[in-house]
């Protein structure tokens, strides 16, 4: 168990024209579950691999429990990494895979046996112990990889998209299990994913990266409700936040299509701004009402527990989240109202949030 710090870490690969990781600073508390999330090529895996010792930073420092680890070999860092492809040793049985790190630490056979069985029971894979990795399903391989990481009781768990090779149903199930397991073990965990839903559901905090730079660090709620910039606003959330060009008119913001919404307090910008509205920050009404903006329904997408109604406002397409019983037909005229606390304003050129 340990505290992990990235201090102004940068790394550029010789074949690339920009930094893969650019001045990354993070402070991860002991026992925390931190998710690094971003699109592919954003530097999240590189950041993880630098902590594991598989890549070397050009600048900056990485510390575990206050001690710099960048000069240590991977074997001396006491961190365990679960690879996207699981990296099970194909020539060893599941039992030998799991006890490999214990063998390295020269534990006695009896100790190894008891630890392997303990962790196999924890993950429900005792019956797989005599098999070879090739005889296992993807989900089973994933558990074995997890068992191999857990059995050695490392200071930090690193996970590089460990769920991305599982089918959708198993992925959701494993997500829950993994989070519960991490809380039970209390080991500091850094989890890399490109899936924002995974990030939102699993992380104590999430760090959003893009083009090597940290865009925002915060709790899932914080990042979702108050995205620091347009990138985060559109990357986190499904469907993503609606972003509409706007201009200021006194106390109101006028969105493309003529929709007037009240400007949130303390927003300074006047020109070149964009307004962000989460799909659930828009109320959809059937009857005209004062201040409600008329719009036309393009299509409704029922999802069982909710319906995403796509409406056209001028030439802008907005997605509105409604209850399961609201299913207006295409072409229906509806009226939109923005929730005052859901209006986010961004600077159009820098993308930074203004409120």
């Amino acid at each position: 168990m340990a505290r992990v710090e990235y201090a102004e870490v940068s790394k550029r690969f010789p074949t690339q024209d920009r930094e893969a990781v650019d001045h990354l600073s993070l402070d991860i508390a002991d026992g925390e579950f931190l998710v690094l999330v971003g699109p592919s090529g954003c530097g999240k895996t590189t950041a993880l691999r630098m902590l594991a010792g598989l890549e070397y930073p050009d600048r900056g420092d990485i510390l575990i429990d206050g001690r710099s680890v960048i000069r240590l070999e991977p074997k001396d860092r006491d961190v365990a990494l679960v690879f996207q492809s699981y990296a099970l040793y194909p020539h060893m049985s599941v039992r030998d895979n799991i006890q490999y790190p214990l063998r390295v630490r020269q534990l006695s056979a009896a100790e190894r046996l008891s630890k392997v069985e303990q962790v196999a029971d924890l993950l429900g894979i005792r019956h797989l112990l005599p098999r070879r990795p090739a005889q296992l399903s993807g989900g089973e391989q994933q558990r074995v990889a997890l068992a191999r990481a857990i059995v050695r009781e490392p200071r930090v768990f690193l996970m590089d998209e460990p769920l991305s090779n599982l089918d959708a149903k198993l992925r959701t199930h494993t997500r829950t299990e993994l989070k519960a397991l991490q809380k039970q073990l209390g080991v500091t965990t850094i989890f890399v994913t490109h899936d924002q839903a995974e990030a939102m559901t699993m992380g104590d905090r999430i760090a959003v990266l893009d083009a090597g730079r940290l865009q925002q660090l915060g709790t899932p709620d914080n990042v979702y409700q108050r995205p620091a910039n347009l990138f985060v606003a559109q990357f986190i959330g499904s469907p993503p936040m609606n972003i509409v060009d706007a201009r200021r008119d006194g106390e109101a913001l006028v969105l493309t299509g003529g929709w007037r919404v009240d400007a949130p307090r303390g927003v300074a910008g006047s020109d070149g701004i964009k307004v962000g509205l989460r799909p659930e920050a828009i109320d959809l009404e059937r009857a005209p009402a004062f201040g409600a903006q008329p719009a036309e329904v393009l299509v409704s997408e029922p999802l069982g527990s909710e319906v995403i109604v796509n409406v056209k406002l001028g030439d802008v397409l907005l997605k509105v989240r409604t209850g399961p019983d609201v299913r207006p037909d295409p072409g229906t005229r509806v009226f939109l109202r923005a929730r005052p606390d859901g209006v986010r304003v961004f600077d159009a050129s820098s993308g930074a949030a203004l409120n």
Binding site: G53, E73, P74, F83, A87, Y89, V104, R148, R152
Partner: protein, 292 residues
Amino acid sequence: MTTRAASQVARTATAPRGASWIETLAAHIVFVLVVVFFLVPFVWLFTSAFDADAVAYIRLPAQPTLNNFVRIFTEHDFARAMANSVLVAGSTMVLDVVAVSLAGYSLSRLDWRFKSSITYAVLLLQTMPLSATMVPIYGLARALGLRNSYAGLILIHAAIELPFLIWLMKNFFDNVPRYLEEAAWLDGRSKLRALVEVVLPVARNGIGVVAGLSFLAAWAEVLMMIILIDSQDLKTVPLAFYETLRTQGGYVEVQYGLVAAMGVLYALPVMALFLVTRRMMVRGLVASSRGL
């Protein structure tokens, strides 16, 4: 329209089969001829080895006998030659496997200056005909006292095959996923131990191919044996063979029965080796051709 198209497809599909039975027959005749062409020497070898007075053409032994085999062991010290060959080829194999594993790994995985130039230089070495370097090798071997020694035979045979085998093994290592080795490092292993415990076992088909090819090369090589050995004690099978074949300028008659008996015993060990390891060899060679 659709039916016509379908019937056209059907006609095209059956065309090669129905084209003509003459073509099929011709193809089979060619196959048979080729097979016969390659089998004839073996047929001669096996019939002559058991023939008391074998001749230079194929005929069934009038009275099958094992006498040729008895004579090569009693009169020509063939046991010694076999032992020497096994020792030289076996040691060459071990040395090559160790050297090639390390060199192939380095070219495949490690980063160092001039790596790509050196990688291609290694390949260039392979294009050099052995007969062109025969004289300097002889000179070197003499200067270093490596003539008429097992060490000399083993070192030189191991070296001859190195460039090709290094390339082959580099290719096998290229196909071992990097993350397996990284997992071993993170599990606490040093780079060398991870190579031995994870990378080599995963690349075992490659090791098998390298071992098989280096054994075979050293087993079958003649030229270097001739220029490096003139001691009777160090004589290997190719030399015993060569001696038996020599006609001393026409003064001695070639004893075909003995030559054939030696040939059979010379071929059997490598054929047995191939049969035992064939699955590994085929898998390995297929894998390497996919990578190259």
